[in-house]
């Protein structure tokens, strides 16, 4: 497997969507190729990093103004139908 082929298959390898024989080829390649090892490792770190980013919240400075506008939009929405207001 060449470096170009490895880069082309990198996500399939990371996502476990690769045939076993290709997995073996990838592992053999990265065992000997420092550059591809770095690309694989940093891509995996990126994925972990952004997964955590999914729990990000809005910076406090923006939050209050946004909440105010949301609250206003919410309170000024059309009244619910009779059916919706029953408890």
């Amino acid at each position: 497997m060449t470096c170009e082929e490895l880069i082309a298959h990198l996500s399939s390898y990371i996502d476990h969507e690769m045939d076993a024989d290709l997995v073996a080829e990838v592992q053999e390649h990265i065992a000997h190729c420092r550059n591809c090892r770095v690309v694989l490792d940093t891509t995996q770190r990126l994925i972990v990093l952004v997964h955590d980013e999914g729990r990000r919240i809005i910076p406090a400075g923006q939050r209050d103004a946004l909440f105010d506008r949301l609250q206003q939009a919410f309170l000024s929405r059309p009244p619910a139908s009779e059916a919706d207001t029953t408890v």
Binding site: S11, D15, I47, L49, L70, Q71, R77, V87
Partner: protein
């Protein structure tokens, strides 16, 4: 005008909050917004890449959620439910925008500028390191520079954690297109962030 100040502990669990919402208590709506708006807004802006559109999606999400409360069965948490509504709202806006974005650089093959150039290891261990604001800003900035068609796939797959199949269905794409776009997005982001990581 400052927003209303309420005691968020009135509804100290989701069942109490849901009961308050169903009784249409104004404080319950405020509590719902304060608790979940940050999550919903962050998802909307990542998908849409535009603060005004994200705010519109945020408003629609909460209005629709409160109008659909009677059909909410509580199987997923309120946060997950709102997250799904927000994603659908954002995707709907994106579909309306399609004429603007049909001609972009989404050839479904790796582009020359996506071949890795930065080959320095990252010292940061994302599994244990807390995201500092500078890194977070770099990440958001890098994400914002991705072409929309790559960014959306990346957000749904790697941030929201949808499967390839779910992402393909949500976007009306084939699974192979989702895989290639995700791969291209990862390569681009890795490249963009590597420049920052090398210096930290």
């Amino acid at each position: 005008m400052p927003g209303p100040t309420i005691d968020l502990t009135i509804y100290d669990d989701e069942a109490a909050l849901l009961a308050g919402l169903r009784r249409r208590e104004p404080d319950a709506c405020t509590c719902l917004i304060k608790r979940f708006a940050p999550l919903v807004y962050a998802q909307a802006i990542r998908l849409l890449g535009d603060a005004d559109e994200a705010e519109g999606a945020l408003q629609q999400t909460f209005i629709k959620a409160c109008d659909k409360l009677d059909t909410y069965e509580g199987r997923s948490g309120l946060g997950s439910w709102l997250y799904r509504i927000a994603t659908n709202e954002a995707l709907m806006l994106l579909r309306q925008r399609l004429p603007r974005t049909t001609i972009d650089d989404v050839a479904d093959a790796i582009q020359a500028d996506e071949i890795p150039q930065h080959l320095t290891p990252w010292t940061l261990d994302p599994a244990t390191a807390a995201l500092n604001s500078e890194l977070r800003a770099n990440l958001e900035q890098a994400l914002a520079t991705l072409p929309e068609t790559l960014r959306i796939v990346f957000v749904l797959r790697d941030i929201q954690g949808l499967s390839t199949e779910e992402t393909a269905a949500a976007l009306g794409l084939g699974e192979s297109a989702v895989k290639v776009r995700l791969h291209r997005a990862r390569l681009r982001l890795r490249e963009l962030l590597s420049a920052y990581m090398r210096e930290h």
